[in-house]
Structures are given as C-alpha cells and as structure tokens.
Symmetry: C2
Subunit: 342 residues, 2 copies
Amino acid sequence: MNEFAKPTLDDVARAAGVSTATVSRCLNAPDRVIATTRERVMQAIETLGYTPDFGGRALASRRTNTVGAIIPTMDNAIFARGLQSFQEALSRFGKTLLVASSGYSPAREREQMEVMASRGVDGLLLIGSARPEASVEFLRRRGIPFLGAWNLGGEDGYFVGFDNRAAAAGLTEKVLAKGHRRLAMIAGITEMNDRAADRMEGVRAAAERAGIPADELPVIEAAYTFDEGAKAFGNLMALAPRPTAVLCGNDVLAVGAMQKARELGLRVPEDVSITGFDDIDLAGVVDPKLTTVRVPHNRMGEAAAEMLIRLINKEQVERRIEIPTAIVERGTLGPPTPDPAT
Amino acid sequence: MNEFAKPTLDDVARAAGVSTATVSRCLNAPDRVIATTRERVMQAIETLGYTPDFGGRALASRRTNTVGAIIPTMDNAIFARGLQSFQEALSRFGKTLLVASSGYSPAREREQMEVMASRGVDGLLLIGSARPEASVEFLRRRGIPFLGAWNLGGEDGYFVGFDNRAAAAGLTEKVLAKGHRRLAMIAGITEMNDRAADRMEGVRAAAERAGIPADELPVIEAAYTFDEGAKAFGNLMALAPRPTAVLCGNDVLAVGAMQKARELGLRVPEDVSITGFDDIDLAGVVDPKLTTVRVPHNRMGEAAAEMLIRLINKEQVERRIEIPTAIVERGTLGPPTPDPAT
DNA sequence: TGATTTGATGTAAGCGCTTACACTCGATTT
DNA sequence: AAATCGAGTGTAAGCGCTTACATCAAATCA
C-alpha cells in the first residue's frame, strides 16, 4: 500500500496475516476472536494507523453511530449548555453528534430533518413539541427514533424536559404570596415555541386561581434580547395602575427589564419586583440578583442522550422524563410597597 | 420494493425508466442530463420519497460533505456563538457540521481528531494553535485540511482569528493613558490556551513599553468562572500598593472581579478600574457597563467556514485572516484616584 | 453522402466494510 | 473409534452509490 494512502481493512488483514472478517470482528466483537490473534491484529492496526472508513462501515452495517440534533440556535446559552452535555454523553456511548439549527422556523427544521435522514442518523434530538404533524410523520415513516427535549410534549412521542407550566405557576404563586395583586408578564414569543407558551399559561393559570382574571394580567411577548425585554418593561410601567411585579418568560428578558427599571428610576424590588426563568449565569451577576427558576439544562442534556440511546437500541423507555426545576429566590422579588394612595 | 423500505437509486432508476447512472447524474451534475429525462427522474424521486444514502455516497465518491469542529466546550458563549455562525455558513454550502469537544485537553482533542478522521470529514475546524505537533502531523498525514480559529497561530497552518496580543496591548495602552501606573491582571489559564497567553503577553508588552517591568505587574491566572475572577480580584486587592486598574483576560473574569469589588466596598471605576475582553452580552448589562474588547465571534465563524470550504476545494487561500477587534469604552475604566498618601 | 464529432445515456467495476455461511480441527460425547 | 459439537477463522456476497468507459443516435462537416 502507498505510504500515504489511508490504510484499509485489507491492508490490516494482510499485515496481520488474517482475513478481513477477522479484523472486522476484532473491532466489532472482540470476544469472538481468540486473544493471540486479536493482539496481532491490534498491533497491525496500531502500526498502520488504521481507522475504519465511515462510509464503508455505514453502508455495510446499516448503522452510522451518528445522532443528530436540530436546535433553534446555539447562540443561546440555554441550548448551548444542554447540547454540550448531550454531546458529551453521546460521546461516551461512541456516538457522534451532527448539529443543525432551525432558527425557530418549522420549515427550516423540516429541511434539516431531511438532511439528517439522508445522513442516516440513528436518532434525532428535537426541541419541544410544537411542529407540523407532517414533520413528525416524516420521521416516523423513515423509522428514525426521535425525542423532544426541553419540555414534556403532548399526547405521544418521547420527551425529556421540564414542566414549564408548573414551574411558572409555582413561581407565580410565590409572587402572589408576597402580596402582589397587580401582576404583568413579559413572555417569550409563543408562536411555535411551546416553552414560552407553557410558561405564559402557567402564570395565567396561577393568577386565575388567585382570582386575577386573564384580562387583568397584561402580557407582552418579546423576542429573546435585552432590548426587547427593556422595551416591553417600559410599556408595562406606563400602564395605570402600574404592575407591582413583572414575571418574565426568561432571564434575558428579566435582565432587560431590570436595566429599564434602573433607567426609569424604579428600584427593584422596592418599586417593582421582577422575576426571570432559566437561571442562566447572568442571573447571579446582576444587582440585585435575579429571582428565577433553575432549569438544569446539563442534566437534561445527559438524560436526553441516555433516552435516545435506549430508543435507538430499542430498549424499554419511559415516555417522558421530567427534570425537576427549582425556584431560586434572590433579590428581585419583594413584597409590594403599599400604594401611596391608600 | 417493499412499501416501507427506504428506496434506493435502483428503485428510482426503474421507476423513471433510466439507468442508475442517469439518476446519479441528475443529483450531482444536473446539466449533464437532458431536461425531459431529468424531469422524469425528479418526478420519480419525489413520488418515491427518495433521499440518497449517505454511506453509499461517501463510499463511492470519497467525499462526505461533512465538516468537523473540535472546540473546548460549547458551554461558553464565545465558542457557541462562533460555532453557530460557522454552522450556518456551512449549511449554505451544503455541508453538515459534526461537533466534538475537547474540554481543553490536548489528549482528548487528539482522540476526537481520530473520530473525525474515521468519519471522513472533508475538513476540520480547531481552536487556536496550541497543540502537540503529533496531532498536527496526524491531520497532515491523513490529508485532512484544517484551520485554527480564534487566533492567528504560529509559523505555518491556516488561521482565521483575532490578534489577541495586539488587542490586549491596545487596551492596556488606553488604561495607561488614563494615568494608571499600578496595573494588575487576571488572566485566563494560559496552559494550552494561546488566546489567554496572547492576551497576557499583550498586556505585559504594553506595560513594559510604558516603563512598567513585568515584576511590577502582578498576574493571577484564573479559570473561566465568576468565582475564580472574584477570588483572584480579592487577592489582588490585598496587595500593597493596591493596583488601581485590573485588566482581565475575559469578560467573565472581569464581571467576577466587579462583584468582588462591590463586596469589598470598592467603587468601580473610582476606586479601581476593571476591564474585560470579548464583549459578551453580559458586558453591556452589568453596572457600570464593562469596558472591554469587542471580538466579533460570528464574523469569525463565517470567515472560518468560507476559508475551510476553499481549503477543501483546493482553491487559493490566504494563510491567515485577521478579524479586527475594537475597544469598547464603557463605564468601568476611569482615571485613577490620586493616592491619598500623596 | 459518408466520415467525424458531440451529447445523452447505459454498463459495470469497484469504494471499504459487515456478515451469513462454510470450513477446519481439537474436544467431547456415545 | 466414530459421531458430534463448537470455537475460531476464512470465503465471498453484497450494502447503495459514483464514474470511467462504452455505446448510440443525431448533428456537423468535408
């Protein structure tokens, strides 16, 4: 063989004086080869610097040991963190991660599904459950096991994630318990984003249980940036009566709101309480520190990897795994200041 | 063909009444097939729901249209952002991204290189230039084009990144121009991390040019966390004489330092100036806003993708592309307060 | 008009691997 | 001692695709 050509199974077999089948077995089922032979083969692999060819292997075995993930964007600490853990866990199972991003567009997600499918991924990680039925159907027809992550999904399918609705409701109850009655919410964009929608619903439900009807709970949807959060907060503060607590759909919006509050000369939490969601690093850094909901994305990433591997291996799998969240009380939630008019 | 089996090229060929070669050409070189035939083939592809098999294609064409990236971790806004842009750009060229993480370990990076190699990636994105020669040699032998990103590397190889050294020096000059003489630095861990090392050197060089010898410039290396930054800052503030300006190797350390300053009752920038590096979102959110160096990671990601594609296509490529950085003056850098003792 | 070129398509040989099946040979059973 | 077994290994048939080369008909030329 040419010194610089990539060595093949044949080269190894020849060098070790065995057949290609034996070399293949050394790699895939070492215990089906007697120790002495195996050593000889391994030695040959080592000296030749052989690594199996992916194409050949994929073609012959009908397996790729590749897992895909289609996420809205990595440019978001939440997904980046989860994906990192997912990838690490996958790597422990000898799988490699193929990533694609949808930019929150269902059409683009579908395209990427086709890319993943034609790459023969063994399984696929998706975010959430809000997607056209046709996309789901596509994966089913192709027989690609897939998983919705970051939330708990709907009727069918497998999920590993958080109960965003319950967590949001829990936080809302905490706010109500402080004595707040005039709540407002800055939600993430809910269209095709079930996490944002669930959080909004959770807040609404808790408020309603406390006797606050939906029409007395102003909600503004805002994109995932500080500026949008700030803008929404400004609009909310212009309302009469002014809300005493603003629940935000995520920490980014909450921090944007905090900036705006400072700009408006409003003290947090004396003049207005603000809460976030996700507990990103930022939450512990702003002043005062943000009261929020901890969402352990890294644990989720790991759990997702394990679940997907089981799905791929056709092992028994629970339909959904809930990763518990926790309310983190820090400095931005306090009791409302008694209305000066009273 | 079985209704549920994945259709193959053969199925398409039969359905369209042409040979497999023609179908293949329709997919890979449409202009080498006459329009009427092509339409018939495309129609068949459509109705059968055919997607080419990756393994077969990779095996036959010796190309995978896959690009790998081995980064320290995605769990770091800097890399996540760059990677996102890289992936998007790649996707526009019809390439898919395979990601792996090294956790800052050269050994692990090497392992991942082998994984990437055996997957037949067409090209590889690496971070920085600090790695054992053997790793580089491995890629060369395999003939895998690769690229160092995020810095400008050394003697040979291709790079797209920033001149961390010059940028750090520039910022240091700005600090000196404010009148500071007692500088200190909290650097990132420099071992096997050329970005951190370059930044440290840049600060040292600028200080020396201003007549401040290295031994009068205390430097503490700290891991990429708020806490480590805070701890290092605490140590620095215990020094006598106390530094009046602390240059940090990245924004995370700087924000940690700011927190510690508040804790210690030190005002920023009145009592002590603090600067960062990277201009992550966080930098614009802390109070006062952080003076730092803007490092456009998304532009870098795109440039890296383009360069790697050219490398893969064996087109003419510049050896290094420098992405310009910019100093962002915000609130944490001010003139030193005159020493009360003077 | 016959010779030559050109463009569209078909034929078939692999690409590197896995795996069903066949084979060998010593150990065990009858 | 013959029959049976099983562990270790080899043989060889593909897996689905690309592509060099062959073929053929139509277009062009002399």
